[in-house]
Amino acid sequence: MSPTLTREQRDTGFLIGVVALAIGPHLWRVPLWAAGLALGLLAWRGWLAWRLRPLPARWVLLLIAVAAAVGAKMSHGALLGRSSGLTLVCLLLALKLLEMHARRDAFVVFFLGFFLVLTQFLYSQSLWVALWTLASVWGLLTALVLAQMPLGQPSLKAAGREAARTTAFGLPLMVLLFLLFPRIGPLWGVPGQSGSTGLSEEMSFGDVSTLALDERVALRLRAVDGELPPPGQLYLRGPVLTEFDGQAWKPAAAVLVPPDALVLSGGVLRYELMLEPLRMTVLPVLEHSPGQPGETWALDGVTLRRTAELTWIAPRPLGETLRVQAVAVPPSGVQRGPLAEHLSLRAARALPPGLNPRLRAWARDLRAQVGSDPDFVRAVVAHIRQAPFTYTLNPGVYGEFSPHGIDEFWFDRRLGFCEHYASAFVVALRAAGIPARIVTGYQGRDAELQEGWAVVRNSNAHAWAEYWLPGTGWQRADPTAAVAPERVERGLALSTPVGVFRGAFDAVDPTLWAGLRHLAERMDLRWQEWVLNYKREQQFKLLDKLGFDSPDWSSLGQLAAVTIAVLAVGSLAWQQWHARRRDPWPSRLARVHAQLQARGWPVAPHQAPLRWAHTVRANGGPEPVAQALLALEAWRYGPDAQPTRGWQQTWQEAQRWRQWWRGLRLALRA
């Protein structure tokens, strides 16, 4: 800080910096005009402080506030709502700085600032956001401390230290509250609007998959009892898409529940799943989860329902991180009905009329050549394997010049990735009269486990097919495996193009990027496990570890009560200890005085031991008593007297005192 700044200038500058830090991450989320206006207001305030100009009149600010409200209404459609609220809070915070006349006005700024910090969590709760939070809160608290220092020019460092000190005192309480505060479900409304986008609910043929390039972690799996399937067999079932309009695949509107929807016979795998906020309504789970259609599954704050297509569907997008204990039965131990013809199969045979005539004719011809439906399926897969199909993430756009996009793919260009192969495969099967549908989800995982957790990324997003045969029911088929076996067999994520940034890392050391990413993800995993996923279940687990049998809310309450009691008693004891007399000497001298007075010697309490000794001698007291008092005088006030430092010296002094006291008592008795 330059010494030429006045206190007011410096404090205002600091507050502007803190507010900018709090608003910063939101600038990308509010409309452009709002971001510009907020920055402009901050800059204006800074300029006014720098030039020592007076603050603008209130009506000017009121005008700006009204304009901001109108702008928010126009940009967001409504004034009440999350996004328009965010815009307004950002602008109000910047405006309040221009309306701050006394340092006490700063309180409004602090409270709005804390809100803005919390709002950030709606979008991300990563470790970096936590660090940013700490910095913002520290800044706000430092400004709060500065507002309570009315005199002179206190250093920012002192204020910052005081803020940190106070916060540090509060940390144990924070940890306790965090661990013990009961986690209940949402009081109203739905959580989420947050998180990155996971698999979408529908799939357009020819859409470029942006997910494929997204290397962020989608979910993590850990076997609890049993073993996770190898990457090639690891299929996480997401939305099932049955309806096709020639362009997009959508979930079937209403599906009849078939008989024998799920017949289980195999072994069971227990596992744990940690889901990032993907905003999917379907919870991706390992194939196949036991649970008959219509069953429900209650998780923390949300209840899932099993559909006829054997997916778990939530009543709202899952915008929060979830940690789920789940069970899976390997596909070998599962039979999925109906086993005989059923009405529910009708939708799985429908094709948009008049589209893709070449593929339909090709399929009909092929079906006529082979003897049976299973042979037909094998023949289609064999065709994909033998014909010059290429697996690529950049196949270009299909259906641009004709509505027959799948014909283009199947016969002309033959470039594509999982979506294309699964779509064409299903259309071919349907053309031959075999019920088929598309299943989207995740397939494969990272080769190495992260501290026991298998990592599945967004780039593991996959689409495969299911077809139905009488007698056996629904079967999985992954046509992508025919063209790109390495994608499916090894379960590798789709490879992404190398960016400039990463290229620079690779130039230094090819393993550096992977190493750094690994480290960051490991930290993120810990963060997920310990902080973000600390929910009711983890709370009860903690209680269990602390020795509560079958923990529930009441044991949580008991623990909280005991903790509060211990804290209260502890602080009371601390206060007592603090308030006690530190120096033992006054009470010691008082004891000596009482002893001397009991013998009838005219000693006064304020006199030193030397005077007492003289008094004792003058009144004919025994010489040893006078000697002892002289020794005490020398000990306390003689040239060798030392102040006592530390508990060791205190202890030694207490020993010496006890010895002296015994000596005095002996002398008095004699």
């Binding site: 919390l118 969590f121 939070t133 401390v145 309570q148 220092m149 309480l173 308030a579």
Partner: protein, 327 residues
Amino acid sequence: MLKAAQRRWQDWWKARHPARDAQVLTQRNLYIVPTKVGAAFVLTQLLLLVASINDQLSLGYALTFLLCGAGLASMHTTHGNLRGLTLSLLSPPAGHADADQALTVRLHNPGRARFGIGLRLADATSDSLAWVDVPAQGLAELTLHWRAPGRGLHELPVLRVETRYPLGLFVAWSYWRPESRQWVYPAVEAPCPPLPAGKAVGHEAQPVAVRAGGGDELHGVRPWREGDGLRHVLWNKAAQQPDPNAPLWVREWSAPPQGQDCWLDADDTLGLPDEQRWQRLTAWVLAADQRGTDWGLRLPGQALELGQGAQQRRTALERLALVGQAP
């Protein structure tokens, strides 16, 4: 009934805050409550908590509890900002009833640096705080002013020391009843009327005063005061001053002392209202003390023998402060 309760409360309060000239602030005499800002802070936290619950934000819980912890810890630090501090009173100087009385408080700090400590009279408005910072292991002084209700030997007003440091969420305060008393002399009548003639010389003696001009002997020069004639200003000296705002100087002449023993008698002021009588006598006492000769003071029912010097003046002024008041 109410009166009795009030009196009991007053008694209890006085027992809790015994009058002392040095007061150590401890657990026993410190109070602390949340401020309005603290209440707003709690409200903010409730909102943050509801938002965290509704959106199931783990980090939101963490932020809420971090602020909660910091807020509660600030109760401790706010209390600690006063605890252990010793307030002591410098012996209060005597003053006159028409001016504010100065009260200098010294704050001794045996611990770490303390900021934002405010002092005020207990019955003053809450925004009239005088602020002081006390350095670590050091002391700071602060002078407050108060208006005494009149002349006399007054108990000092109850002082209130408070702090909101560091976060302003709590206010900790204590009351302090200083034990010392402060002399408040009667106001000084201005301009000073001529001194009464010394009794020994008789009624025909001229009033004696040291004033600009009008004497026989040149006494010296002194700065100009209101009432000095323009003829006595040393204009030569003023013209030589480079600074136009420099004070003017006047010649001072002194009349030869007429009576060695000047008696200032309350009877000489008869006819004036009571308070004005004491004010005039006070002015006379000060003027007589200036003269450097012996003087005495006669008040109804008492007399101060002839004498001079600081002790004589103080005794006279103290008697004037108390005259006519119930002991």
